[in-house]
Symmetry: D2
């Protein structure tokens, strides 16, 4: 069962809009140094939908080469068609992925039976674990707890969920109730904004791209070590930043700006039509980071 | 222009599901003691949609009588039809409301022109201020900044917005940019989860039902007094609780439970089909309140 | 099991926006003369959402008095709260309703378990049949075939569905497959636009407000009499009109205009914010009715 | 200004799921023989979302080679990112496309300003006409009439709309009202189900993949020749088939099956997770085609 903290990688771009490989490598190194248990490449927040197939592949190759087995890497392989999803999953395996992460395919009138068929077909085609991504705003489909457990029961390689259907602690509790002893790994996401409550409800870790993974690692380690009060202290004080980063529509721009201020990515730009950072968000971030750095003396970064 | 903190009132119920008037009065008193600038009755989180028309009216009468002009009261008057909306707005005025709050009417294929007509018709029918409620998940319609400013320009009595279309600080900045000097009052909402950033972006206050309004009042007063660092300190440390309360689908159950633990409402139940509090949420709340009470020694409540 | 054609009643208004009772009576008489098997009052297309509770009730009383048991009447009793839904269902029974029709309650984060609980609670509170309205655009929730069958299996009084989740013939086939012999009555809706295919898939009738119910009655009778080719002939030639009437957002305005031209309602207006009929739609309707009346010599109405 | 009938090409597959080029060529020939004014490749119903980038490109090359300038070809170039959209548009131009068709980019929190920027950026990068695809169920964004006209006014190369936001005749009338003399080309779509009414409202043609384009061509030609009654006769009698084909979620499977029965594509399969044809839909189609062939003696096809 997969667990711990997996950081979802952003895709840094040059001012001209090309993938910025040196920045990419620095992000990877920062995340690994932060002590994460693994990395996730080609996630939703990696701006994957704005890359061509060729860019997606070359980016994945660069990631795998630079990580060089220091930590396991999950590769996002969601596509709207089954055939392209299987192709991509096979490439992911060939590249050395520890697992692929797959969302229900986006489609009008999708239903539970079609979702089961989709995962069954992918599971039959590859022999590495599949993580179900449960994020309805992107897939357009809500998988109820009973469906997630049904898939896990039927398909032994599909027993980990990146569960991002709010309220997440509540839903995690529902999934584990129904699992009735079957081991299911559950990663929280949503920028870490409910990490502690997710762990309390039975999550085995967090998979998100929050720009200060040191905090996530700290909370998860303390929690898993049974130090619940210290985990809580470490979480409640810091969730103000996670909450700010995790704003709909502008979250990726904020995340990249924090990573830029941390000195790892050269340029915070996102690909259009993504909404770029503007003055009011910058001001909110300035204020928060000033306060935050006073609280967290062990985390250092370069401010402009 | 309306500003400051307006607390949206919950509707407490007896175990049998009747409106619990004594609890209602205690909630009102707690909010007024907390120093709020006004109250809002019959909002979305007042479970208004689960009341009959007769209950809604008798509840409003009870609120107005108990408040007894200690603070201004805004009355939510959204309905799906124009005619019922005007009727309700007139009743609100007759009851002494300082303003009514109205959402775009829920309707398939609604568009901007129909929204303008709706507010124009209501504004023509009543002579108290109208607050636009901008909460797309409930109305099903997104009002762009340009539409909100257009309405404010055309209708002098419709120049306050309860703005809850995330990311709210970003949208507030867009509205004020376009307002180009026209005075528009903007209340943040969303349980207070972005209160500080909303104020920084130009919001004039907050209108939400967060169960510890003392915190909202403190942040807004410090901010308006120019004490921005102290406002920030007061906000960032406490937003963990607002975030927890403001969970989709279960937020009202959490809010009522906090109010119950504060000793003001007798029973935390919500009307079905609302999701009641269950064990995993209770545990998350226990942990958070333990920590929170250590931070906020001035706020007292009764724990079970 | 309920079957045949049930016509959903519109709510005619006077130019001043009051409920127009004389027109109402003429509509009822037209539908009964057309040979419908029953009527449905207070449906979605009855503009119920734009009536006050008091209007809804007085309208229902007027309907029941005028129908005077000539045909069975189904009363729509959907509300967002369980308590108000039960109250309304009890009133419906007291008024003599043959059944109530209920939609899943509109609520953020609704799920299958909550839907089952809702129907279970209503079924426990009343002793007349409950028809499930399955129209996701209004309820905001999609009930999969397995859920509909689960409810029918558990609750003997909830074994009729007004199924309007497109593609309807496909879904009817799925429901009946899973029903595995359990008798479930299924009414098609959607303005009759897929009536023949719904009957072929196993529907037991149609429940819709199409302004020329004579056609629906004719198709259903021929089909049930085993005259499939004649039913097909009667349907394919006429579906052009049903399709035109059944336009999103403007369908009710068209339906009322046809009823006005048929001489039964005095005024075609709908309550704001509903979109009124405008010139381009009038022209389309003129053209279609001209052609249609040439095809259907047995159906007479007054043209302007 | 573009006008007339443009047929959107399906993508036929072999039983093994590969693109079936010989079938593809036969479809193209059928459409051209039917007298269409142009073809559209890589539309939504071309199952484009289920092709890899490489397949999409090789399919486009095959189309352009086989059409060989017999009719103009529009190429769908919608992608979620601006950069990939421009790249694809440039390839389309290089391949000889008469125009590209582009949808607002799918993105959470998209707004009108971002849509304008998107079209402005694409228009600046290519020098062939751009057709706006206005189909909210796929783009997730509703463009109001005022926005469509604003884009047309600002960008001379973006003055054609494939308008599929129901009710389409109503919206076409709204766009032309606001256009106030500016020439805007409008194609109806939606499988042709409102073709006549769209033409009456001012549409300049139809762009859809309906499997019997002969009918669309006939209606449009008669209408443009001023033979409105004959156009109406040709439309109303045949819309039963368009309506049946245009069913949500299963429409492509029906369309391919009709093309298979017409003898042009070898295999009607669609790529998973698309819903394949099942028995109840087959039966509905059998019945309809039997009737239809009796009405339309000039259209011939091979029945199984």
């Amino acid at each position: 069962m997969m667990k711990g903290v997996y950081s979802v990688l952003p895709t840094p771009f040059t001012p001209g809009g090309e993938i910025d490989v040196p920045s990419f490598k620095r992000v990877i190194d920062l995340y690994i140094r932060a002590g994460v248990d693994g990395l996730t490449a080609s996630g939703v927040t990696s701006e994957t939908a704005r890359l061509s197939d060729a860019e997606r592949l070359s980016m994945l190759e660069a990631v795998m080469a630079h990580v060089n087995k220091r930590v396991p890497v999950v590769i996002g392989a969601s596509t709207e068609g089954l055939r392209t999803c299987i192709e991509l999953s096979k490439k992911a395996k060939a590249l050395g992925a520890a697992a692929v992460m797959i969302s229900p395919p986006r489609m009008p009138k999708l239903n539970s039976e079609a979702v089961v068929r989709h995962f069954r077909s992918v599971a039959a085609a590859i022999d590495i674990p599949i993580i179900i991504q449960d994020y309805p705003p992107v897939s357009g489909f809500t998988m109820e707890a009973s469906l997630l457990v049904r898939i896990a029961r039927e398909l032994p390689s599909v027993r980990t969920i990146k569960l991002e259907d709010a309220p997440t602690p509540y839903k995690i509790a529902r999934v584990l109730e129904r699992a009735d002893g079957l081991t299911i790994g559950i990663f929280g996401g949503l920028g870490g904004t409910y990490l502690l409550e997710e762990l309390m409800a039975g999550a085995t870790g967090a998979m998100t791209g929050f720009a200060v993974p040191e905090i996530l690692v700290n909370v998860v380690r303390l929690f898993h070590a049974g130090e619940r009060e210290r985990a809580a202290e470490a979480f409640y004080c810091n969730v103000a930043l996670m909450r700010f980063e995790f704003q709909e529509g502008i979250g990726m721009a904020i995340r990249k700006e924090i990573l830029r201020r941390r000195g790892v990515i050269a340029h915070a730009g996102i690909r259009p039509p993504g909404t770029p950072l503007e003055a009011s968000t910058q001001k909110g971030l300035d204020s928060l980071l000033n306060w935050f750095l006073q609280q967290n003396t062990e985390i250092k970064w370069t401010l402009d």
